[in-house]
Amino acid sequence: MSSRTEISAVELHAFIDGELDDARAQVIASEIKTNPALAERVAEFRTDRAMLKRVYGPVADSPIPADWLALARSPKAPSAMSWRLVGSIAAVLVLAIVATIFYRTLKPSNGDEIVQVALDARQGTSGEILKVSGKPGANGYNGGAGRRSIITGQSAGPGEAWVYSRGYPDLPWRAQRPRSGTAVSRQRGAAIYALFAAL
């Protein structure tokens, strides 16, 4: 008859931690007494376990930073939003505002008319774009017969500029009047002119 004693690694560690039932712990303790290799192994694991306390244990004796104590004892709980989250939300808001301004700046007031005017001006026979100062009707809307002009001039009203689509090509330039004009904000006028210039 053969009696075979096996100790699994799991059992051995449970023995080291005192988690084994008494009967089984007794068996393992007996084996350790008669098996130097096993005894050495157990001693190493016990040393490792003790090292955890020796190495990290003193950290708990360090003084706690005063700002942690102040934070813990502050009457109001911190906001549910971390600063990181607040920063992210702020960045998104700024982007949304910038996008809205940009969109509103470039958005044609009458459908796509203004953009179309810009394209017409750029793709026209002369392709000339004039930027003329002056109130509507004051002077020089057009560079000459047949020329298509975009005119962004002085403010036509508070905060406004005028954008004209084109003049009458069949009239002398002094007699020309814009066929259509659209009041836009000064900002939009400037943006449109910049866009046209870049086309």
Binding site: M1, S2, S3, R4, T5, E6, I7, S8, A9, V10, L12, H13, A14, D17, E19, E31, T34, N35, L38, E44, F45, D48, R49, A50, M51, L52, K53, R54, V55, Y56, G57, P58, V59, A60, D61, S62, I64, P65, D67, W68, L69, L71, A72, R73, S74, A77, P78, A80, S82
Partner: protein, 179 residues
């Protein structure tokens, strides 16, 4: 509902232990302090979720652990995991150099383990929890606690002995064969 003052007092009393756990699991004093501070903030915000004050230590460890895992993921996504893996050298141990190089080697070996293995070693060896308490804290069966702990210890020993982090096979140790 736990009284606010009682909660705060218990929280403050747990901070040294939480900091110790944080240093041990991260291997980095600065990161540990950041995590503890974030844990305090989160604990204060979510204090209503804590059912019993006795559960505070494990609740705090869980908060810190989750924050740590988030931080690792963030660093991985930024490609800066290396920072975490090279921390052992600048862990400022407040303990006197009682074991000299041995302590340093031990810290390096700990840092080479997975978070799961570090965690189980610390819960047993540093926090001195029972297997049952650990099973409850990690929400795993007790058998998983035992096998994970055995693997973690075998792996730590393997690193300490020959510097390799090989897969550990938990074979039965045949210690006697009598006829």
């Amino acid at each position: 509902m736990i009284d606010r003052e009682a909660f705060v007092n218990a929280l403050v009393s747990q901070l040294p232990h939480l900091r110790r756990y944080a240093v041990a699991i991260t291997g980095n004093a600065a990161l540990a302090d950041d995590l503890v501070q974030d844990s305090i903030e989160r604990a204060l915000r979510q204090s209503a979720q804590l059912r019993e004050l006795e559960l505070l230590p494990r609740w705090l460890r869980r908060i810190l652990h989750n924050l740590y895992v988030d931080e690792i993921r963030r660093r991985q996504s930024r490609g800066s995991l290396q920072d975490i893996m090279e921390l052992s050298d600048h862990l400022e141990l407040s303990t006197p150099a009682l074991d000299g190089n041995l302590a340093r080697e031990f810290v390096k070996a700990m840092d080479a383990l997975s978070i799961e293995h570090r965690q189980i070693l610390l819960l047993v060896g540093l926090e001195e929890l029972s297997y049952r308490q650990i099973a409850d804290e990690l929400e795993v069966p007790i058998g998983t606690v035992m096998s994970r702990l055995a693997r973690a210890r075998e792996r730590l020993r393997s690193i300490m002995e020959d510097g390799t982090d090989s897969n550990v096979v938990l074979a039965p140790l045949v210690v006697n064969d009598e006829s």
